[in-house]
Symmetry: C2
Subunit: 417 residues, 2 copies
Amino acid sequence: MAEKLSTEPYKGVRDFYPEDMAVQRHIFDTWSHTAESFGFERYDASVLEPSELYKSKGVENEELVNDQTYTFTDRGDREVTLRPEMTPTVARMIAGRHKELPFPARWYSIPNLFRYERSQRGRVREHWQLNCDLFGAEDQLAADVEMIALAYQSLINFGATEEMFSIRVNDRREMKEFYYSLGVIDEESITQVTRLNDRFHKIERAEYMEELRQIVPGAAEAILEFVEKSEQTENAVTKALNAIGINNVQIDRSLARGFDYYTGTIFEIFDNDPKNNRSMLGGGRYDDLTFLFGDERIGGVGFGMGDVTMRDFLETHDLLPNLKASASLIVVPTDTKFNLDGEKVAMAFRASGVSTLVDISNRKLGKKVTNAAHSGAGYLLVVGEDEIARDEFVLKNLADGTEISGSLTDLAKQIAS
Amino acid sequence: MAEKLSTEPYKGVRDFYPEDMAVQRHIFDTWSHTAESFGFERYDASVLEPSELYKSKGVENEELVNDQTYTFTDRGDREVTLRPEMTPTVARMIAGRHKELPFPARWYSIPNLFRYERSQRGRVREHWQLNCDLFGAEDQLAADVEMIALAYQSLINFGATEEMFSIRVNDRREMKEFYYSLGVIDEESITQVTRLNDRFHKIERAEYMEELRQIVPGAAEAILEFVEKSEQTENAVTKALNAIGINNVQIDRSLARGFDYYTGTIFEIFDNDPKNNRSMLGGGRYDDLTFLFGDERIGGVGFGMGDVTMRDFLETHDLLPNLKASASLIVVPTDTKFNLDGEKVAMAFRASGVSTLVDISNRKLGKKVTNAAHSGAGYLLVVGEDEIARDEFVLKNLADGTEISGSLTDLAKQIAS
């Protein structure tokens, strides 16, 4: 006998059986509904991209490209990468048609992304992400505010309240101005301080100060104060968010974000629950990215929000609804010899817009009726010799147990109404 | 200056700009609506699969595995393939949980699939497919009929009529019985005849007969007659389809289908338009596939239907609706200094379920109003100094030009009703 094949998926990726797929679709549907409620249009692209897209200056993230991508050479000797993030793709597409596209352009997508890294909670190798981007708005403040409002609203639309999460905002330009005011002007020191700040909430104060003093001996105290007092300060973005009714927002001067391409506002949303206290979403403004593809600079602001962290958030806060999917009507043949009659009856109901499942199993009639009652379907209709002979059927309402008789057309109207 | 990056996608794959994505979503939505109207549940899996999944006997398709897959070795030295078809994946998943799953199981998915082949019309290297499968039904006839009815209904739900397409049915068991009755019993000859039959409609009669006589000298005339008279015959599946109201169905004894795993009924749907006369959809019964993963044989019947051929069909028969997407309401600030007020107003409408886009561009007021009128949106609302001061706004119905005034709450109710 030949050796049996494994039923496991490839390492680090997930199978979505129907019950998991129902959760996934609830997440995707809420995301797309929210994005469209802001007038965003959906786009998509292939998961395969030329590897050079992730190697150019401005996109480059050394660790990512060298160690964490799925990159291979195809049969035509081209180097190709499974996309690890969507922003380079959307910048490529916007740059490719910048002459025809109307701006501001509001685009969203729900791509799958791949990273080769050790699997841990929230760190599978393939995940899906809501990506929203707003390109070419001259009014950067309004654009930044709208993007954060969209991120906020997507959580609200899942049933979250403001107490459950907080929005943290920083600004790369403001940070640079602050460093300049302290006489810290060389790029290398600023980069090192930025990286250290990214660890501010994860390390001890003493350790932070020791490292900070090594980088910028004369400015360490001032920087610490600036970071520590973040929450008592505001900027134009946080003030505008308050003004439009979003209150769970604060400045966080330690916020760094990993991608080198951000040029202005950056933001993250954190789960407030101590059991799941982590960043759920991040984004920011990148004004130079399309310049990689041509002479045009089309400023953008965007964010990405992952399915794994989203599901963790929904489970942590008990926000997942009952997602039992089912047809509206179950047709139950009294015997398998009436299965094809059942299929014919089902066609009539579907023509009236009623989703209909035919139980063509070999189970006993009583078992089939019980299964239908537990399926989540609204109605049950039995098909047997009498019903077929008289061309009259009995429709049972599974919620209240009531029954009505009639022709298929009458009964279909009854359900559809 | 650094060299500019290309804005082209990777060779053989497609970018979906919003207008193409709208068509794609119309196709996907119609597919999923149809599958769910039959009680099918959605599942999904990663595009990455262990390469061994496509190399085992029963799934194997030599040309496919050796020359037409995207296969590479990952950083952990595993051989991995971008799935070229979905059936091995769904068989793997069904086999993996066959003890817990309720049968019959009706599953569908809309995966992207990769094949490395020369690009030509309808033959891009990545395409999406509706995959529907029904597993574990003892009543194979009812299951086969239901699957073909589902394929049929999906085209009807796009607005097609029976005249636009035809369903061709064959049966591997019936073909085998026929060959046996002629004394043709060796597998090799049967395989060769099957492959030749697959070309029956594409080559000249004389060429067909010459090759046929070389394979089975004594049975050639009988096979030709059997194939030629296909349309005047029926079998249990075509009779049952007629009985449930599907008439554009015929036996086609030349129908072969490429995959070795089919064991019974096989079927294809052809476009009847001479401009696009091709197979749009194919499927069949495979009863041995789950046996590759364990000792259980769970029979299945399924089909796959591609997005590229589907779009060609819809365009050929002029079945694509106007898919202009837009927000319901466009908010137009009289000046950019009221952009943030516009964002605030928009939040109020969205809270009432009204999708709302704020025009934060630098365009002149008149131009913004004209753009809104052409956007496909239903309503327009101007936000300026007076409106903000009085907290009273004017909502313009873009379809009939009527206007009403009121508070934001009143106006939101007006649109939502």
